[in-house]
Amino acid sequence: MASKPGAATSTYSPKIVARTRPPIFKDSDLDWTRPDGRGFHQCRPALLQTGAVSSASGSAYAEFGNTKVIVSVFGPRESKKAMVYSDVGRLNCNVSYTTFASPSAGQGTDHKEYSSMLHKALEGVIMTETFPKTTVDVFALVLESGGSDLPVVISCASLALVDAGIMMYDLITAVSVSCIGKSLMIDPVTEEEGCEDGSFTMTCMPSRYEITQLTITGEWTTPNINEAMQLCLDACSKLGEIMRDCLKQAASASDE
């Protein structure tokens, strides 16, 4: 027989778990490079594409290094029967992971809070008054987790919302910065996130120059926060331009 489903055999992964913490680098140590060879203030190349899922109202695929995400937007469609009348639209967000998203299966960190964090990042930018009584569903699936998952999900979701024709004040872009020792690293990968001293995730509207969400964990000094914020703002406006180009390309392709 090929297999015995239901046989509760316990299995383990023979993969090597790296436990070593990379040494802390001083400010002078500038020639050290990151696991993927980037500079400290360099983001991973972004691959963005709209219209990834045909059955959704709008969708987008984003690939930043090894982080691969699909977001589908459904609606605006009828709210659940149990919902009371509302003269503004509702936003419903969900983020899930594939079982093979991270190499160490079942031991990954908890991502339950990502759904509500995605909701908070998006709620301020969507014109909910344009779809009263209805719900817009934003569902994200992380195909592969390679670090900075939430920022990628948020940026990808904003593309998917545009693709679905949901009215928004501006695009939403998100970037995170890790603080390891004295150095700040933008757009960290999983290895860097695992040993970071602090993390700084910012969601902003690049054209309006406004921050919609900001989350800081770990220990930060004020100069570090200033620097991280400036890094994120620059990266967000650059990412905003990339996203705009992607949308323009999609629009001109559909015109032809």
Binding site: S116, D197, I216, T217
Partner: protein, 287 residues
């Protein structure tokens, strides 16, 4: 929910704009804070904090557990918050659950620091008894009894007080055991260890109403807010966590300004809280 008439809304907003709030406070003044410790005898540590009409209880329970395989040299801390429907009718059902998990997440962020443990209010390594085998699991439970705004700051203060009040029994571990067996543990009934809470941060929530921001907002004032930023600051003035609520966007410079104001406010709040906590502890010892 508070239903304010348009007149009342203007009154609240106008007062904030003129630096004289409805209860006579200035924008950056806290309501009086009362701290009581040891309110739950069966817990390892507990405290009740009242800030104006907001009333919360925090308790700390320590249990023997096993470190996770990913972090064999650290203990574990879990934060749970319960918003009682008696405090506010909207806390019943899903509304309360959402608020509870949001508060718990924000507190966890403020208390536990980064992945490497930097900036943590509770030193997880100090909870370890034997590497990879035995550690303390701390369960921090917060209960909102009555709500009049500024829940996060009150819970943060209550947890700080409860941790100060916490006594963890000393533990003896039998010396040598085989690699894959659990060692025997002997928990002392008499000797207790105090918890070092000097690095536990305080949380300052700045609520933006109109063009200004205020500390320690009441429910009425919170209903008029556009966004709120909760910043936790430790004794050395480092930021240990930041969470933003409310959908409205904020200009980056406003956020930086808020952070420096929060740092300033946190100093006096920290001192006030420390003296309240030590007074409460002394009071408990006497009784």
């Amino acid at each position: 929910m508070v239903g304010l008439s348009i007149g009342e809304q203007h009154f609240v907003k106008g007062g904030i704009a003129q630096d004289l709030r409805t209860d006579g406070r200035k924008r950056l003044t806290y309501r009086p804070i009362y701290v009581e410790t040891g309110v739950i005898p069966q817990a390892n540590g507990s405290a009740r904090v009242r800030i104006g009409g907001t009333d919360v209880i925090a308790s700390v329970k320590a249990e023997i557990g096993r470190p996770s395989s990913l972090q064999p040299d650290k203990g574990k801390v879990a934060v749970f918050i319960d918003c009682s429907p008696t405090a506010e009718p909207t806390f019943g059902g899903r509304g309360g659950e959402e608020l509870s998990s949001e508060l718990a997440l924000a507190l966890q962020r403020c208390l536990l620091g980064g992945k490497s443990g930097a900036g943590a209010g509770i030193n997880l390594s100090s909870l370890l008894i034997k590497e990879g085998k035995v550690c303390w699991d701390l369960y921090i439970d917060g209960l909102v009894i009555s709500s009049d705004g500024n829940l996060l700051d009150a819970l943060g203060a209550a947890i700080k007080a409860a941790l100060t009040n916490t006594a963890i029994p000393k533990v003896q571990v039998s010396a040598e055991v085989a690699d894959d067996e659990q060692p025997e543990i002997d928990i002392s009934d008499e000797e207790y260890q105090q918890f070092d809470t000097s690095s536990v941060p305080v949380i300052v929530t700045l609520t933006k109403v109109g063009a200004h921001y205020i500390v320690d907002a009441t429910t009425e004032e919170e209903s008029q807010m556009s966004s709120a930023v909760s910043i936790s600051v430790n004794r050395v003035g480092h930021i240990c966590g930041l969470t933003k609520r409310g959908g409205c966007g904020l200009d980056p410079s406003v956020i930086l300004d808020m952070i420096s104001v929060a740092k300033h406010v946190s100093e006096s709040l920290m001192n006030k809280l420390d003296s309240e906590i030590s007074a409460a502890e002394a009071c408990e010892d006497e009784s």
